[in-house]
């Protein structure tokens, strides 16, 4: 594309936006609202992730080995655990290790363990401590490995983990469904705005065809119009989120000391990187639909 043409297309696109007045404002508004919701959601989920990160990290599966399992069974169990694709970490903890750990944990009160320390008296069992690559997979993996040979019992803090994951999962799905609906609305509104432009400019389009403008020359201003509407619609929520988040973070710092939040500078970058391409994409999709359906070139 020639640089002169680029300026021409941009100029025409801005003229069209100004001409369409309220339709342009409505399009930008809907893009902004969609992306504001998406952006807030992203900010929230980042911070929730940060807060629940430790919690999730702590969640592990403990597999107790059947005391009557022989050497062969134990070897087979070990091999199967190590080969499991969902497990990121497999650590064997012997009963002696477990006892030592318990002792350390009790510290001053380790005298409570007196009489249990000798191997033949040790009531603890040999076990594996396992971590999954994806925390949400814990319940499924736990269920699967329970049937492995030599496994006596599997424990992963069920009852705490499932509701937590269910809740975060539910929030995510509702958010996604809501956003998909808004995205469709956005595309529709932009398409409609561009359609209006095509209608208002039908005479110019006709003359352009007669004097030999190429199809792409005719299309570009409309595509740029969609792109600009989408971009403006994305920049607005980026600023709203940045300033809103700054205020919120400040307030939290002064009032709820123990909550750790991601710094605003970090958030803005992430948000801008998500929202601006998305806004541009929504705008281009909307205008492409209109150009294809209504611009008969």
């Amino acid at each position: 594309m020639h640089i002169r043409s680029l300026f021409y297309f941009l100029g025409e696109a801005f003229k069209n936006i100004a001409r369409n007045g309220w339709m342009s404002v409505a399009s930008v508004g809907v893009v902004s609202i969609t992306l504001l919701i998406l952006g807030s959601f992203v900010v929230l989920s980042f911070n929730v992730d940060l807060a629940t990160h430790d919690l999730k990290e702590q969640v592990q599966i403990v597999l107790y080995i059947n005391e009557r399992a022989g050497e062969d069974t134990r070897a087979e169990l070990h091999a199967k655990l190590v080969a499991h694709p969902g497990l990121a970490e497999v650590r064997y903890v012997s009963r002696a290790d477990a006892m030592a750990r318990l002792k350390e944990k009790l510290g001053d009160r380790s005298n409570l363990l007196e009489g249990y320390e000798e191997p033949e008296d040790n009531p603890l069992r040999d076990s594996y401590e396992l971590r999954t690559a994806i925390p949400e997979e814990i319940p499924a993996v736990a269920k699967e490995i329970k049937s492995y040979p030599g496994a006596a019992e599997v424990d992963y803090g069920s009852g705490v983990v499932e509701p937590l994951f269910q809740f975060t999962g539910l929030v995510r799905w509702i958010g996604l469904a809501f956003m998909a609906g808004l995205a469709v609305t956005t595309v529709f509104l932009i398409a409609h705005t561009i359609r209006l432009t095509v209608y208002l400019r039908r005479k110019e389009i006709m003359i352009m065809k007669y004097v030999g403008a190429t199809d792409w020359f005719i299309r570009w201003p409309f595509l740029f119009e969609g792109l600009i509407l989408g971009m403006i619609g994305a920049v607005i929520p980026v600023f709203i989120i940045f300033y809103g988040y700054q205020e919120a973070a400040l307030w939290m710092q002064n009032n709820i000391y123990f909550v750790s939040l991601l710094p605003p500078e970090k958030i803005i970058e992430v948000i801008a990187r998500i929202l601006i391409p998305l806004g541009v994409a929504l705008g281009i999709i909307g205008s492409t639909i209109s150009v294809r359906r209504f611009l008969k070139v």
Binding site: S5, I207, V211, G212, F217, I218
Partner: protein
């Protein structure tokens, strides 16, 4: 320059609008195309612009078979054909200069080149002093001059006009027709579809008569002739 052999045109499954048209137009000619309403004059011009495709037969412009022209080549064909309409089709929201410049701008001509060529075209059509007027402030004849300036500003080899004087009074019509003659004298091929009997008779140019969808007469220095 324009070659038409056994051309047929039919819209959907209606009757033929054009039947077995044969026509050759050489570089530099001035041709009137006359015929009663519905004879197919406008259809013939639209075929030459490749707005529509022939049903059968061959139509060649500048040696290119229009039926075989690829879609993306069409704009380049049209850059070499100037088109003038009965209803002017000017853009009301910009002045005369910008209306003429528009046809250059949208094919990517530089502003510097535009500033050189548009005044020349306006001078040619006698509107030198009215560049900054809006079309709404001009008389019908002046508006048609703007339309002619727009058609010739890219120096096309051919100018096609579809009833260019249909909305004008006889004196103004005569002036516009003289303008086409001037353009023709400078070397541009001119094809004018018209009903204006007096003008056709006055100019003594080649006249192609379309009647009952066929060429019924084609003579040099002809006169307007009814097909019946």
């Amino acid at each position: 320059m324009i070659e038409i052999h056994h051309l047929y045109k039919q819209f959907e499954n209606d009757a033929y609008v054009l039947e077995d048209i044969n026509l050759m137009i050489d570089r530099g000619e001035f041709v009137f195309i006359v015929g009663s309403s519905g004879a197919g004059k406008s259809t013939l011009l639209r075929l030459l612009l490749r707005e529509i495709l022939p049903t059968r037969g061959m139509i060649k412009v500048f040696g290119r078979d229009l039926a075989r022209l690829r879609k993306r080549e069409v704009p380049y064909l049209r850059r070499n054909i100037g088109m003038v309409f009965q209803d002017f089709r000017l853009l009301e929201d910009r002045n005369v200069f910008e209306n003429v410049a528009f046809s250059l701008r949208v094919i990517g001509v530089s502003t510097r080149e535009i500033n050189k060529r548009v005044p020349l075209a306006l001078e040619l059509v006698g509107l030198k002093g009215k560049a900054l007027r809006n079309p709404g402030e001009l008389s019908g004849g002046e508006q048609q001059r703007v339309c002619v300036a727009r058609a010739v500003v890219n120096r096309p080899a051919v100018v096609l006009a579809d009833e260019p004087t249909g909305n004008l009074d006889p004196d103004t019509s005569m002036e516009i027709m003289k303008l086409f003659q001037d353009i023709n004298i400078r070397g541009t091929t001119v094809v004018v579809a018209t009903h204006a009997k007096e003008l056709v008779d006055h100019f003594q140019k080649r006249v192609v008569v379309l009647g009952k969808n066929r060429v019924v007469s084609d003579r040099e220095r002809g006169v307007y002739l009814h097909a019946h």
